[in-house]
Amino acid sequence: MTSVPEVTEAPSREGAGRRLSSFLHRHPRLRLSLLLSGPVGWLVIAYLGSLAVLLVAAFWRLDPFTSEIVHEYGIDNFRTLWERDVYRTIAFRTIGIAAAVTITDALLAFPIAYYMAKVASRRTRRILVVAILMPLWASYLVKVYAWRIILQENGVLNWALDPIGLTGPGFGNVATWLVFSYLWLPFMILPIYAGLERIPDSLLEASSDLGGRAGRTFLRVVLPLAFPAVVAGSIFTFSLTLGDYITPQIVSSTQFIGNVVYINVGVANNLPLAAAFATVPIAVMVLYLLGARRAGAFDEL
C-alpha cells in the first residue's frame, strides 16, 4: 500500500503537517513508539542506567594508598561490610528501627483509618482525607527540625513532663523511632483507609446477623480483609525508613545505612563501599516487595 492516493484526497490546507498526521493515524505502532520514546528513554538512561552504574560500582575497589577508584571487580566491599562489626550493627539497627516504625504506624493508623472509612459522615471523611494529605506533603525537613526543637533539653516536651517528674527521651534511637513513626504515619493511614472503605458494610452486617460480636467480626472479617492494605502501607514506612539518613543525623548521633553511604560518597570518597552498602536496602526491599506481593498488597497501592 502506498500513501499517495490519500495524500491527494486530504485537504491541502496544512500540507506537510496534515500528511504527517494522517500517516501517524494509519500507523498506531509508530504513534505508540513516539509517545513512549521520551519517557522510557529518560527513565532507562537517567534512572536504570544510574542504578546499573551503582551496582557495578559496588564491585570496584579503592586503592588504599592513592585513594583512587580501581575498576577491577571483586567482592572485597561486601566482605568488609560483613566482617566489620560496626557495619553489621548499623545494618541491623536500620532494619530493626524500620520494623519497629512499621508496627507502631500500623497500630496508630488503624483506629483513625477505621473511623474515616466506617464511622465518619461523607463530609467529615473528605475533610479528614485532606487533613491527612496536607501534612504528608509539608516539608519533610521542617518536620524533623520541629521534633528537634520539641525533644531538645530545654524544649517543650521536657517542659510539659517536668511537673509530673518525667523527662523526654532526648536524642538517640528512641527519638529516631518516634520521629520516623511521626513522619510516615500518613503513608500508613491512607492505604488502610482506602482498604477499609472497600469492605462492603453488608459483610459486617452479615457477620453480626450471624451472631458475631463486634470483637469477633473485627478479628475474623475486618482484619483479614484489611491486611493487604496494611502491608501496602508498610511498604512505604519500611522503605522510607531504610533509605533515610537525615532524621538520624538531626535527632540522634547513631548511624543508619544511609549515613554510612552518604559519608563514603561525600567525605571519604569511597564510592565502591558506599555503593556496596546501598545494595543492602535494595536487597531488603526486593525481598519485602516479593513478600508484599504474595500478601496481595499490590492491588492496594
Binding site: G38, L136, S139
Partner: protein, 273 residues
C-alpha cells in the same frame, strides 16, 4: 452497623488524638517563627515579626529560594511532558510490556531516596558531569514523572476514547484532536499533577544532597544552617514559608483531582522526599 456507641466514642477520641499528634509539631514551628527572642528554649519570651524581616533580607535565603524555584519549575515542566506521554501510551494502547512501564515510572519513588541519589551521583561522578542546577533537575524530574503520570492516567481511564475517535472521524488530525478534545479533558489533571510535582521537588532533600554539588536549594540551606545556632531564628521563618509553599499546592491539587485521586496511596507517595 456493628460499632457500639462506646466504640464510636473511642474511635472519635483516637482520631482526635492522632490529628493532634500530626499537627502539633507543625503548629509549634509556626509559633517559633514569631519568637521575639533568639533562643529556642520553651516557653518563648514573646511574639514578634522581627525574624521575618531578617529572613527576607538574607541573601543566602533569597539565592536558595531562587534556585529551588528554578529547579522545581524545570523539573515540573519535564515531568509534565514525560508523564503525559507515558500516560497516553499506557491508557490508550495495548502493548507488550505495558505493566513494565507503570513499574518503571513508580520505581524512582518506590526505592529508598538514598538509592536514587547515590545512583545518580555515581553516574555523574563516573561520566564527569559537574553537579549543579542541571543535575538537580534531572534527579527531581525522574521522581516527579510518577505524580503527573498517576493523575493523568487516572483521568484518561475515566474519559472515553470514543470522543477522540469521533474527532478523528470528523476529519480532525492527530494534533487537532489532542488540542481540542483530549487536552481540555486533561487540563485539571495536568494542573494537579504539576502542582504536586512542584511541591515534591520544592522540598526534596535526600536526592538533592547527592546531586546539588555546591548549589543550595532551600531545603539544603535549612539543613546546612541547622547547625548554626545564630541562624536558627531565620530557619524558623523559612520553615513556615516552606510548609506553606508545599501544602497550598497540595490543597489546590486535591480539589482539582477530586476525591478519588487523593485516596490512591501511590498518588501521594512521593510526598516525603
Amino acid at each position: 452497623m456493628i460499632e457500639s456507641p462506646l466504640a464510636r466514642w473511642l474511635l472519635r477520641g483516637a482520631t482526635a488524638l492522632t490529628l493532634t499528634f500530626i499537627y502539633l509539631p507543625l503548629a509549634l514551628i509556626c509559633l517559633y517563627a514569631f519568637n521575639s527572642g533568639r533562643s529556642l528554649a520553651w516557653p518563648i519570651p514573646g511574639l514578634s515579626l522581627r525574624w521575618f524581616g531578617r529572613a527576607f533580607e538574607n541573601t543566602g535565603v533569597r539565592d536558595a529560594l531562587w534556585m529551588t524555584t528554578k529547579a522545581a519549575a524545570l523539573a515540573t515542566l519535564l515531568a509534565l511532558v514525560l508523564g503525559t506521554l507515558a500516560s497516553l501510551a499506557v491508557a490508550r494502547y495495548r502493548f507488550f510490556g505495558r505493566e513494565t512501564i507503570s513499574f518503571l515510572v513508580i520505581l524512582p519513588i518506590a526505592l529508598p531516596g538514598i538509592v536514587t541519589g547515590m545512583a545518580l551521583n555515581a553516574t555523574y561522578n563516573t561520566t564527569g558531569i559537574d553537579l549543579g542546577l542541571f543535575t538537580i533537575v534531572v534527579g527531581h524530574a525522574t521522581f516527579c514523572i510518577v505524580v503527573v503520570y498517576n493523575n493523568v492516567v487516572a483521568r484518561l481511564r475515566r474519559t472515553q476514547q470514543s470522543l477522540e475517535e469521533a474527532s478523528a472521524d470528523l476529519g480532525a488530525d492527530t494534533w487537532q484532536t489532542f488540542r481540542l478534545v483530549t487536552f481540555p479533558q486533561l487540563r485539571s489533571a495536568l494542573l494537579a499533577g504539576a502542582l504536586l510535582a512542584f511541591a515534591l521537588s520544592f522540598d526534596e532533600v535526600i536526592v538533592t544532597t547527592f546531586t546539588a554539588g555546591s548549589d543550595q536549594t532551600l531545603p539544603i540551606w535549612i539543613l546546612a544552617n541547622l547547625s548554626r545556632p545564630n541562624q536558627l531564628p531565620i530557619v524558623n521563618v523559612v520553615a513556615v514559608f516552606v510548609i506553606l509553599l508545599s501544602t497550598i499546592p497540595v490543597y489546590v491539587a486535591s480539589r482539582l483531582a477530586g476525591e478519588s485521586a487523593g485516596n490512591r496511596a501511590t498518588g501521594v507517595a512521593g510526598g516525603a522526599r
